[in-house]
């Protein structure tokens, strides 16, 4: 693979057309395996916003499952290669508040006892972003060229919301989508019950939580459910299907990138 | 009197303190308190005080009334001490309460001209049959509409808690903005580090939400809290009715 040449991150000092920031896309394991469309939506959004996108092919996972299971050695083993892999990028962007939150908030804890890692970890945390907030807060995107004729409702995934303060950013861009209206949930900030391994360790409690969530979702009357994290989306989509609902469920990036025609929604049949 | 040393072997005291010191990374034996501890205890800093209470005094009075009413107390402002007994009488009649009143044995309350009314009064501690009490206050705090009541020989504590109706007389000059001002007044009045047996903040009448989270007033303490706010700006000798 050949990657675009690295650009400096000080565009103001360059005389010629401002060099495009070089963004390393952290795909996330769930997007990689379950929903590549989200990855391509992210690439499209980033390129349209003026970034050069690079996907390091050796990337796997941020280590969060092991970190949250208390297995710090395994978490470090999985996380460590990422730090070098993204060392030369101007930014690292993930279509997930949870994975971005891991790299921004928890890598410093994970490597706290490793003085050699202190600087690289700090540098990575400083340049890592969740996709939508990167578009609005760094690339200053005011709107997107996309259309969706219908109403959506939005679940605020916990990590993005509480660790990274992602709340208004997706709504701001969604409001610019032609034909789209937002029906807010009664409790958009209440956890859907995914919680990584929690949902399989405590399935009954998780089931109660996601059941409360889908009730709220269905009561919103929206045509489509959006969120910014695949874990929550798979949990909510899976529960909606189990309850017999065929409501369309998508990652917010797919709507913002105008890629809803590219594939059916999550756990959604091909439209006839 | 029980000898405390017979109850609590000093071994636990020194063991607990030793563990604390050791786990804080210090030697296990007794040590002198650092300067910041000594200073904090000698001159307590005021920390963060809400701007809400830090307003001119006339606005503090209005805020006090509003906040007290928000927590289901009733407040009546009267022009001078002479009006207190009339207001007590009026309030009890309006609320269909017995005209029998237990007074705090405090000159500012017992010294009022109760004979002007048909109320039957006595003073002292409250007992199981006392339905109405009238007590003075040490201060009122505008920030939350809270009354500050100190126990003393003149202000038996049971008067605050046992009767169904508790009527508190507080003077406009006693209303301050924040709790911190009350502590300054307390130190001025009884000396630094000294407290009465009980220093009570009352913010509205007794209540509970313990049954299905529905608010009910009058759980174990008073069902009604009535505050008589006396405008004493023109009075020179508080508590000496003419």
């Amino acid at each position: 693979m050949s990657f675009a040449p690295s650009s400096t991150s000080t565009p103001s000092s360059t005389p010629d057309p401002t060099p495009k920031p070089r963004v390393g896309l952290f795909v996330t394991c769930l997007v990689d395996m379950f929903r590549p469309t989200v990855g391509f939506s992210a690439v499209k959004l980033l390129e349209e916003a003026g970034c050069v996108v690079d996907v390091p092919m050796e990337q796997v996972c941020c280590g969060q499952p092991a970190f949250n299971a208390g297995d710090l050695a395994s978490a470090r083993k999985v996380a460590k290669p990422l730090i070098a892999m993204f060392a030369d990028h101007d930014y690292v962007v993930a279509p997930s508040g949870s994975c971005a939150g891991m790299m921004i908030k928890h890598f410093p804890e994970l490597f706290a006892n490793d003085p050699e890692m202190a600087e690289p970890v700090k540098a990575l945390a400083a340049k890592t972003w969740e996709l939508v907030s990167f578009l609005t807060d760094v690339m200053k995107l005011q709107g997107v060229a996309a259309a969706f004729d219908g109403s959506i409702t939005y679940h605020d995934s916990c990590s993005g919301l509480r660790e990274l303060k992602v709340k208004e950013q997706p709504r701001k861009l969604l409001r610019s989508v032609t034909g789209l209206s937002i029906n807010e949930l009664q409790e958009p900030e209440t956890c859907c019950g995914f919680g990584g391994t929690f949902c399989v360790k405590y399935p009954e409690i998780s089931g109660k939580m996601v059941g409360d969530k889908t009730t709220d979702i269905k009561n919103s009357g929206a045509d489509m459910l959006l969120a910014g994290d695949m874990g929550c989306l798979m949990n909510m989509a899976g529960k909606l299907r189990r309850e017999g609902s065929d409501m369309e469920v998508r990652h917010v990036a797919e709507v913002l990138a105008d890629m809803t025609m590219a594939a059916p929604g999550i756990a959604g049949s091909e439209k006839g | 009197m029980t000898d405390p040393s017979s109850l609590s072997p000093s071994s636990s005291r020194s063991a607990v303190l030793g563990r604390i010191r050791k786990n804080l990374g210090r030697a296990a034996g007794p040590q002198d308190a650092p300067a910041e501890v000594v200073t904090r205890l000698a001159n307590p800093p005021r920390n963060v005080m809400p701007a809400r209470g830090q307003i001119p005094h006339d606005q503090q009075l209005n805020l006090f009334v509003k906040m007290a009413e928000d927590v289901n107390a009733s407040v009546r402002r009267v022009e001078n001490s002479d009006a207190i007994v009339g207001e007590v009488s009026r309030y009890l009649a309006e609320h269909n309460q017995p005209a029998v009143v237990r007074l705090a044995p405090d000159a500012t309350i017992t010294g009022l001209d109760w004979n002007k009314t048909t109320l039957e009064t006595s003073s002292g501690v409250a007992g199981p049959l006392d339905m109405v009490s009238v007590t003075p206050a040490f201060a009122g705090v505008a920030e939350t509409g809270s009354l500050m009541l100190r126990s003393s020989p003149d202000q038996p504590y049971t008067l605050n808690m046992l009767p169904d109706t508790h009527i508190v007389v507080v003077r406009a000059s006693q209303i301050v903005g924040t709790y911190e001002e009350v502590w300054s007044l307390q130190r001025q009045s009884q000396g630094r580090g000294t407290m009465p047996r009980t220093f009570l903040w009352v913010t509205g009448p007794s209540r509970t939400g313990d049954i299905e989270q529905t608010l009910q007033l009058g759980a174990h303490g008073p069902r009604r809290l009535h505050i008589i706010l006396v405008d004493d700006t023109g009075e020179t000798s508080v508590g000496q009715p003419d």
Partner: protein
């Protein structure tokens, strides 16, 4: 209360989720506490600053805990009171008993105290033939039902008014059997009447303490009902039982924390009664207790100092974390199996009864972070639950399958080529299983997922496969 059912958390949770009556009660948390908290905080622009100040006060106090405790002790003694240092629950129980015996006490009144629950005081005193009556309405209700509290500030939150009426009819003898007890008001009036008789007959009154103030040797209780005040005023002896970390330096420091306490707890600006008690009644006082004792309980707390769990000692027991916790909201307090439920319990309980016993609790969290968001003392609860998981992992306490799974996954995930190969196959296989519905209803080894919900099927190829193909096509 020393016996816990925490190891049975999963079964407890199962029972709770299938208890329709409990589920109805838990539905009241939102309007009861959460909405009121939000409204109260909106009224106070300085709330966030106050949280910072409250956190800083406690951090400073904990760093100087020995100094503030000895200052507190000296001031209690100077005011004619007694301080009893108790290393553990047994010592605290024996100390309370000794005080009761010295006064030849027959009856003990209780104000609400979580420390009393922690040390199992009621059951112990009753075995010694003392009559123990809880005076807080919620505590009284669960005492009649012979249950532990299910919430730290609303102990009977799981009980319906019809159940309260049943308990009252069974207990309050000599009353008209057909009396109306349908409404909360009627129930409360009856409890008030019954409790008055107890108040006037009490020998010893035991309360907890929300704060101990070093500057003055004062203990503080924060209540709404007034029961705590009557308990400690009408009894001959007032015993305040408190754990070490309740101490704060000054009256001002207590006031700062009080500004965040009730707002976080019930959404009140201030609770009805905030009572600062110092020493026994003064010589000329006409009422009040003749003796004042403070039980200073350690019971494992001093060993939290200097560890990653020290911040937990900032907790002021407001219950905001459990009021807002979706797991608590799903299963209620009894499922946690010991005295302290919800997120604060998931951190504190392993410290007090051992992570071997309480290992489920820190695991039963999605780390949604809501508890930390609402904690007035800014306690990083999810982080500390994760620290417990680390301890469990070190001690090989979790299920072996989970441990093996994580390590196998980590091994795979650190071999990118193998990982991509395997996920490529898995994605294709799962797509096939998903079929035209693109969802999987049942999957061996993933029943934890598919018992509850379908598993959305992958789209087919992995992103990295597609990306590599696309890049190759661009070059061609």
């Amino acid at each position: 209360m020393e016996n816990s059912t925490s190891p049975k958390f999963k079964q407890n949770a199962h029972d709770a989720l299938n208890d329709a009556s409990l589920q109805r009660a838990l539905g009241r948390l939102k309007t009861g506490f959460k909405d009121k908290r939000t409204a109260a905080i909106a009224q106070l622009p300085e709330f966030e600053q106050l949280r910072d100040a409250a956190r800083d006060i406690k951090n400073h106090t904990l760093a100087n805990l020995d100094h503030y405790l000895t200052a507190f002790e000296a001031n209690v003694i100077a005011n004619g009171g007694h301080v009893h240092w108790c290393a553990d629950a047994e010592e605290a129980r024996q100390t309370v008993l000794k005080i009761c015996q010295d006064k030849d006490a027959k009856s003990v009144l209780k104000g609400k105290s979580m420390i009393s629950e922690e040390i199992g005081l009621n059951a112990f005193l009753e075995k010694q033939d003392l009559k123990v009556v809880e005076t807080d309405l919620g505590e009284y209700i669960i005492q009649l039902r012979n249950e532990p509290p299910s919430h730290i500030i609303a102990p009977a939150i799981h009980v319906h008014k019809e159940q309260v009426a049943d308990s009252f009819r069974a207990t309050h003898k000599g009353r008209d059997i057909n009396r109306p007890l349908d409404e909360p008001r009627e129930l409360l009036d009856e409890a008030r009447e019954v409790m008055r008789e107890h108040f006037f007959a009490a020998d010893v009154g035991i309360t907890g303490a929300n704060f101990l103030i070093a500057e003055t040797g004062t203990s503080v209780i924060v209540t709404n009902e007034g029961n705590g005040d009557l308990t400690q005023t009408l009894s001959k002896v007032h015993i305040a039982i408190a754990s070490l970390e309740k101490v704060v330096p000054t009256l001002e420091d207590a006031s700062t924390i009080l500004r965040v306490l009730a707002r976080s707890a019930t959404g009140q600006e201030m609770s009805s009664y905030t009572t600062f008690s110092t020493g026994p009644r003064r010589t000329e006082d006409l009422d009040g207790p003749e003796e004042y004792h403070v039980i200073l309980l350690d019971n494992g707390r001093s060993n939290m100092l200097g560890t990653e769990f020290q911040d937990m000692l900032r907790c002021i027991r407001c219950a905001a974390c459990m009021n807002h916790c979706p797991v608590y909201g799903a299963v209620g307090g009894h499922a946690y199996g010991w005295v302290y439920p919800g997120p604060m319990g998931s951190v504190l309980t392993p410290s007090l009864i051992g992570v071997e016993e309480a290992g489920h609790l820190p695991n039963a969290s999605t780390f949604c972070g809501k508890c930390e968001e609402v904690c007035p003392m800014r306690i990083p609860l999810p982080k500390m639950m994760r620290h417990w998981r680390e301890r469990e992992f070190e001690k090989h306490l979790g299920p072996q399958s989970m441990r093996f799974g994580i390590q196998a996954w980590a091994w795979m995930a650190s071999q990118p080529k193998l990982y991509q190969f395997a996920t490529g196959i898995a994605a294709r296989a799962l797509k096939l299983i998903g079929g035209s519905k693109r969802a999987i209803r049942k999957l061996p080894l993933a029943s934890g997922w598919t018992d509850i919900r379908d598993l959305p099927a992958p789209q087919g190829k992995t992103f990295k496969q597609l990306w590599a193909e696309q890049q190759a096509a661009k070059k061609a």
